[in-house]
Symmetry: C2
Subunit: 239 residues, 2 copies
C-alpha cells in the first residue's frame, strides 16, 4: 500500500503563470518534512512565467499519482486553460482524491472552469473577484478562504498566507509556525497599497487601467464557460 503519511504535493504550472503563485507556496510547502513536491505540466518542457522567468516542470499529467494537496496557481496564462479539456480533466481527477485543493490568485478561475467552485466559498485576485459568480461560487472577500477541502486565496502574494494555512491543516500549527520562522515571514510592506481599499485612488486607477484588456477577455470567458457548465448567469437572476 502507498505510504499515506508521506505527503504528495503537486503544483500545476503553465505558460504565462504568475511565478509567485507557484514559488510562494513552494517555499512553504516544500519545507514539510516527509513530503514530495511535484511540479506538473501538460508537457515536460521549460516554460516562461508572465514576466519571463523560466520554470521547468518535472512531471506530466500521466506521471502523477494521488496527491494530498493539489495546488493551482494563476496568472494571465489561466485564460488559455479555461477551455483545455485535458487540463481540466486532470484537475477534476486529482481533486477528487486529494485531501485539499488549493488555488492561488486566478487559479480559482481554472477550478471554476473545471466545475469545482459550484456552491463553494472561494476568493481570487481582486481584479477577478467579480468573475467568481459565473462559476457558481459563493464569493468571499478574504485573503484566504477555506471551505471544507477547498482553500483559495486572493492575488499572488496571498499564496504565502494560504500555504501556511494548508501546512497547519496537513501537519498542525506548530509545523506551520516553524516554517514561518524559517522564512522569516514577518512582513512589513513599505506602503499601504496592497488592496484597492487601502491603495491611493490614483494608484488603483492606474492599475485598473493596465488590467483592462485582460479583464475584458476574462469576463467574456467567464460568461461563456459558466453557460457551458449550465450554471445560471447571475445577471439574469433577480435579487
Amino acid at each position: 500500500m502507498a505510504d499515506r503519511t508521506h505527503l504528495q504535493i503537486g503544483s500545476l504550472i503553465f505558460a504565462e503563470i504568475d511565478q509567485s503563485d507557484l514559488t510562494g507556496p513552494f517555499e512553504v510547502l516544500s519545507r514539510i518534512p516527509g513530503s514530495t513536491y511535484h511540479v506538473i505540466a501538460k508537457k515536460k518542457a521549460p516554460l516562461r512565467d508572465a514576466c519571463g522567468l523560466i520554470l521547468t516542470p518535472e512531471k506530466t499529467f500521466s506521471e502523477v499519482g494521488r496527491l494530498d494537496l493539489l495546488h493551482i496557481p494563476g496568472g494571465p496564462g489561466q485564460e488559455a486553460l479555461m477551455d483545455d479539456e485535458e487540463t481540466l480533466s486532470f484537475i477534476r481527477q486529482k481533486a477528487a482524491n486529494a485531501r485539499y485543493v488549493f488555488s492561488v490568485c486566478t487559479g480559482a478561475l481554472i477550478l471554476g472552469a473545471a466545475g469545482l467552485l459550484k456552491d463553494r466559498k472561494a476568493t481570487t485576485h481582486w481584479a477577478a473577484f467579480h468573475l467568481l459568480k459565473y462559476f457558481g461560487a459563493i464569493p468571499v472577500d478574504a485573503r484566504v478562504v477555506i471551505d471544507g477541502d477547498l482553500i483559495s486565496t486572493a492575488g499572488v502574494t496571498a499564496g504565502l498566507d494560504g500555504a501556511l494555512r494548508a501546512v497547519a491543516l496537513l501537519c498542525g500549527e506548530h509545523k506551520a509556525q516553524e516554517i514561518q520562522l524559517g522564512i522569516q515571514y514577518a512582513p512589513d510592506p513599505p506602503f499601504h497599497s496592497g488592496s484597492p481599499e487601502s491603495a491611493p485612488p490614483e494608484v488603483v486607477k492606474a492599475v485598473r487601467a493596465a488590467y483592462e484588456p485582460l479583464a475584458a477577455a476574462r469576463l467574456l470567458t467567464a460568461r461563456r464557460i459558466g453557460a457551458k457548465l449550465n450554471l445560471e448567469d447571475p445577471e439574469q437572476q433577480g435579487c
Copy 2:
C-alpha cells in the same frame, strides 16, 4: 550611448539558492516598465534551489553589461560561493557601477566575502545576523536596511519588502505602490511566528536546532573569510 532610462536589473543565482530570495524580488522588479531582467549564473545550465525547484539562468558573467540594480539572493548555497573568486570578482565589478546593490537573506554574507560590507549598515536572515560583524559590517536589526547604495534585507520573504523599497528608489513611490497593488501584497500571516522575538519559544528552539549544522559551518567560514579580508576579529576587540 547606452539608454540610461531603461533599467538593467540582474540577479545572481546558484545551486542551493533559496528560490524565494530570487522569485520574491523578481515578482516586484520584473514589473518595472522599461526594464530588462537578467537571471545570471556562472554557467548557463539549470540548477536546483535548496528545496529542489529548477531555476534556469539566461546570462553568464561575461554576458552581463552594466547593471542598475545588482541583486544577490541567499540560501544554503551561499556557503560555496564565499571562496569562489570568479563569483566574488563578478560581484565587485558589477557593484562598482551599479546604482544599487540589493542583498536578500544570506546574500549579505556573499557581499561580505566580496568585501562590500565593510563599515556599511546591513542585515541578513536572523539565524545569520551574528555573522555580519566578521565582514566589518554595522549590523542593523531591521527587515530592510538602506545604507546609501546598499539595500539589504532579513530572511527569505523580506526580499519582497526590500524590492518594493528598491522600486521606490529607482522609479518613485507611485510605481512601487502600483506594483504592490498588482501583487495584492496586503500580507496577513495566520500566526505570529515570523521572527525569533514573536514566535513561540518551542518553535524557536526547534528551528534553531534544525539550523545548527549549517550555522556551525557558516560561523567557521565567516571567521576564516573575515581574517582573509584583514578585517579585525570582533571577538578579539575590547568593548
